[in-house]
Point group: C2
Chain length 167, copies 2
């Protein structure tokens, strides 16, 4: 499972994630159906986030459905059960790299190659909790997405100034 931008055995990574999902669903009595499993597999195959219509295109080619609700139903299931995340900045979806744990995921999104890497930090969650508590706000979910350049794209292109431009 990718913890960063380093290379790894991706086939094993996919198989392991699917196996975990299988056993998790078996345990909980969730129906890990053909479509749901395939959508998760498609997401696992990429280190990019995939749009719902990209996924639907694949399903359609494979005779698994042609209409948007097919894929949105499956994504709802995967997100609700923690197998996938929505990347809000991209309106796209990414397989969860740390399934089975409650966490506040952090996504690093490369604007150049579009790769997405998930990490998690317990301290960050605590930190946001403190920030929110100071305002009397109660956290239920967090969206933390960092945009910038991944290691290999940094070599290819200079960074843009940190947003916003004003100083």
């Amino acid at each position: 499972m990718p913890l960063g931008f380093e290379k790894h055995d991706h086939t094993a990574c996919i198989q392991s994630a699917l196996a975990k999902a299988d056993s998790y669903c078996a345990d909980k009595g969730l129906q890990f159906t053909k479509i749901r499993r395939r959508v998760l597999e498609l997401l696992l195959m990429e280190h990019k986030a995939l749009g719902a219509y990209d996924l639907l295109g694949n399903l359609s080619n494979e005779g698994l459905g042609t209409q948007p609700p097919i894929v949105y139903h499956a994504l709802d299931f995967l997100v609700a059960n923690g197998f996938a995340h929505k990347i809000e900045k991209l309106n796209a979806y990414s397989a969860c790299c740390h399934p089975g744990k409650t966490h506040a995921p952090v996504f690093m999104i490369c604007r150049r190659c579009k790769c997405v890497v998930e990490t998690q930090t317990e301290p960050l969650r605590n930190f946001l909790g403190t920030t929110a508590k100071a305002a009397g706000f109660l956290i239920e979910r967090t969206v933390i997405e960092i945009e910038g350049l991944c290691p290999s794209c940094q070599k290819a292109e200079p960074a843009r100034p940190y947003y916003p431009l004003r100083t």
Copy 2:
């Protein structure tokens, strides 16, 4: 300017923000036109994020334009110059509460009343910087959005479990 969920003199808050934008644009030679100013004013009037089409509805009523690019052009300007932010989770836009400073804004979004409050934390930016650096990633922009319940909505409704549900 709202730093939290407490009440404040909102009319003064709007006028002050517009005045700051006026002088900032004058300084920088930016054209703070009627449409741009009005869109910012509409955003400032709410402590909610407004969708592009909500804004367009207002502009349209006022004879300031009827087609989507009108409002998207204005939003592009406001966001690029740090007067407004896009709230990715809501596909909506919010006036910036700390214009004139480089910052990593944090938005607290109440799922019940839809209010949005912006805060900023320099430590968080540092923290994310460290997290990213450890992965070799270079930050350009951040999206940090917290969903949950604002103080008054906490009284009205119990919280939902922290996402994701799996443990």
